[in-house]
Amino acid sequence: MGSKGLRPFAGPGRSPGLPLVTVTGRTLAAVDAPGLRPGMTLALAQALVPGLVVRVADPAGDAAELARLAQWCLRYAPLAAPDRPDGLWIDVSGTAHLHGGEAALLRDLVERLAGQGLRARAAVADTPAVAHAVARYAAGGVVPPGASMPGDLPLEALRLSDVVAAELRLMGFDRIGPLAAVARAPLVRRFGPLLALRLDQAAGRVFEPIVPVAPAAAIQARLGFVEPLATAEAFCVVIARLVAMVCADLERAGQGARRLELRFERVDGSAQALRVGTARPVRDARHLGRMFEERLEQVDPGPGVEAMRLAVAVAEPLGFVQGASCLVGPAAPDLAPLVDRLVNRLGESLVYRIAVVESDVPERSVRRTGVLSPGGSVCGSACWPADWPRPVRLLHPPQPIEVIALLPDHPPVSFTWRQVRHRVRHADGPERIAGEWWKRDREWFLVRDYFRIEDDDGRRFWLFRRGNGSDAGTGDMRWFLHGFF
């Protein structure tokens, strides 16, 4: 059984290190600052800690976030529960070895929470009570199996009310150890049964269940077969049925799939998975089915597949859209199915649009964007300047050439590229492109002079010289071939 205490209200949207408090009315509800405690008045807190960041407490929102975090913790174990207001329970019995042991699990958990902007302390112990106490009032970490509650922890570690703890202090108890050692009956008579229950829970004599959160209902479908399947045709039939089932569920939930996983459970106990993603939420059974069918060749059925499971890993809301009206003409073509299939086949980085970047340096004037991203499709008239012709093929990187040209700024007379000499017949230039000194310090003085030239055969090239032809500080005066018209 594990427990962890979250530092209250440490979350994204706030720079770490600043003292933070939340308030209900004029009193502090929770604090994350040294020297303050809940219940103080806000004025006193502000007098004690200059620069205090104050937020209004939102217990309902915090509880919802905590429940969401408990959902996330299901990645570690099937049972997890929020422990309001600032903790989580995870029952890691029997699952810690999957994460490399209890210590490794704790480390992983704390690191991942830190990645989300949460500072957490965590502890693993035999009972919830001990884990709770060690996480909050000791250093946390793994309590060895069989060890009971450390006796030197303060009374609050027993989850007692402040009143009870204060009265016990008046009686001379300020640690758990001596309290657990005294006779139980007078304590129960004075403080009620809760104190005895807490002591029994701490000692492990009473079982303390947690109420786990239910995992978010994932949309999935599974079909098992009487005889193992091994042929692509059979898989196609099953895929069609699974996809139809899943799409019906998606439609009921008003959602579309963004990522799907199809698992093939083989007779020999191993499993393989095909994963596909879509550019926008989809619940078109034919489209989804085809995406899986295209990838079927990656599946090794081995001795046979006895069951297949299709799960929607990521779903997003997808409403109904009105079809085109005959008054406005045909609907705009939808490229999403094509894009999905290309992306699934080749990978996201190889299917793209080119967007305009406002830069005169040719290599920097284009940027790849996603095909369906809005930035890629609203270029409109904001295009590259039309009065500066650009080559249709660009060499990357530019290739060095040997040039005969009059300095400082005459176009070349001839140039040699790949050991072939091209005599220049017509030339246009120079078009001077200066380095982007406002972005990069190294380009303060750098200059490229571009020439469009045509050789004797009529081929057109785009050449440039590094430097302005007279000042060595602007470049080394070497020539390069950059593109073809």
Binding site: P333, D334, L335, P337, L338, V339, R341, L342, R345, L346, L350, V351, Y352, R353, I354, A355, V356, P362, S365, V366, V371, G376, S377, V378, C379, G380, C383, W384, A386, P389, R390, P391, V392, R393, L394, L395, H396, P411, V420, R425, H426, A427, D428, R452, I453, E454, D456, D457, G458, R459, R460, G483, F484, F485
Partner: protein
């Protein structure tokens, strides 16, 4: 499994559908269509009927869209093409000539100019990413219309995938090396079914690669050769500057038509080819010899 039908389409002329293997550079001796005397009206009507029937036979039975075509805008060329232009819903090939075969800049601009005059998105399947979008925009093909795909060795497969989507206006592919007749036939059938224009830009590291001249199912096959352009200002030839580029368009294969060779000015900013002013009125060499 398929062979393109070879049927004589003009009276008094031998079956010449496959005569169209690469034309030597001096394409002038290869006759352009130049009927010596006008045909009687009845004969013209019969020929038109037969042509329509042949077209129906040649098209696959589930071809949906009626045949449409995109005129090049130069009457001399459009008249030589069956349908009066580049047929949509069909496969076409374009390659550069000479040393430009490797980078295919002229062929790319020719294709970009064609696409600039179509509406709708274009899928451009690349083998390597050396295409420069501002250059395409300079020929009228705006970048927001083009989806680029770097497909490596799977260029033809990705093209076929794209051709199944009628939402696209055109699919352009830049495959490497030899393309089998079966592979090109597949592309052509896919294009025919959806009415999407399919264009192969053939590139090769060697000048006269025989792989670019092997038979294919392409309806037309173009070779774009660059020619020395005249001075930017003809009246002042010594003025430095660069005028409009000049191309020789060699139609080396044309199903249902005759190969030919024309000289034209390169695409302008809207993708239109231009007539060459100083030789526009000159009779075609083949007509001189006739």
């Amino acid at each position: 499994m398929f062979m393109p039908l070879v049927i004589p389409v003009r009276p008094g002329q031998s079956a010449s559908g496959e005569r169209s293997q690469a034309i030597p550079d001096g394409a002038s001796q290869d006759a352009a269509p130049a009927p010596s005397r006008p045909l009687p009206a009845a004969q013209v009507a019969t020929i038109a009927q037969l042509r329509a029937r042949i077209a129906r036979i040649e098209r696959s039975h589930d071809a949906a869209a009626p045949a449409r075509s995109l005129p090049l805008g130069i009457p001399a060329i459009d008249q030589a093409l069956p349908g009066g232009g580049i047929a949509l819903g069909a496969l076409h090939e374009a390659a550069s000539a000479g040393a430009d075969t490797e980078h295919a800049a002229a062929a790319t601009l020719f294709v970009a100019g064609l696409l600039a005059r179509l509406d709708g998105p274009v899928l451009w399947v690349l083998r390597q990413a050396d295409l420069f979008a501002p250059g395409l925009a300079g020929a009228g093909l705006q970048p927001n219309r083009v989806i680029f795909v770097e497909a490596g060795k799977a260029v033809l497969a990705v093209m076929e995938e794209g051709l199944r989507h009628a939402a696209l206006a055109a699919v352009v592919g830049e495959p490497a090396g030899r393309i089998s007749l079966v592979a090109s036939r597949r592309l052509h059938l896919a294009a025919e079914r959806t009415g999407v224009l399919a264009i192969l830009i053939r590139r090769s590291a060697s000048f006269d690669d025989p792989a670019l001249a092997t038979p294919s199912a392409a309806v037309t096959r173009w070779r774009i050769a660059v020619l020395p352009s005249p001075p930017a200002l003809p009246e002042a030839p010594e003025t430095p500057g660069l005028g409009r580029a000049r191309w020789r368009l060699d139609l080396t294969r044309c199903r249902g038509g005759e190969p030919g060779s024309w000289i034209a000015e390169a695409c302008d900013a809207a993708g239109r080819l231009g007539l060459v002013p100083d030789i526009a009125d000159r009779p075609h060499p083949s007509r001189l010899s006739a």
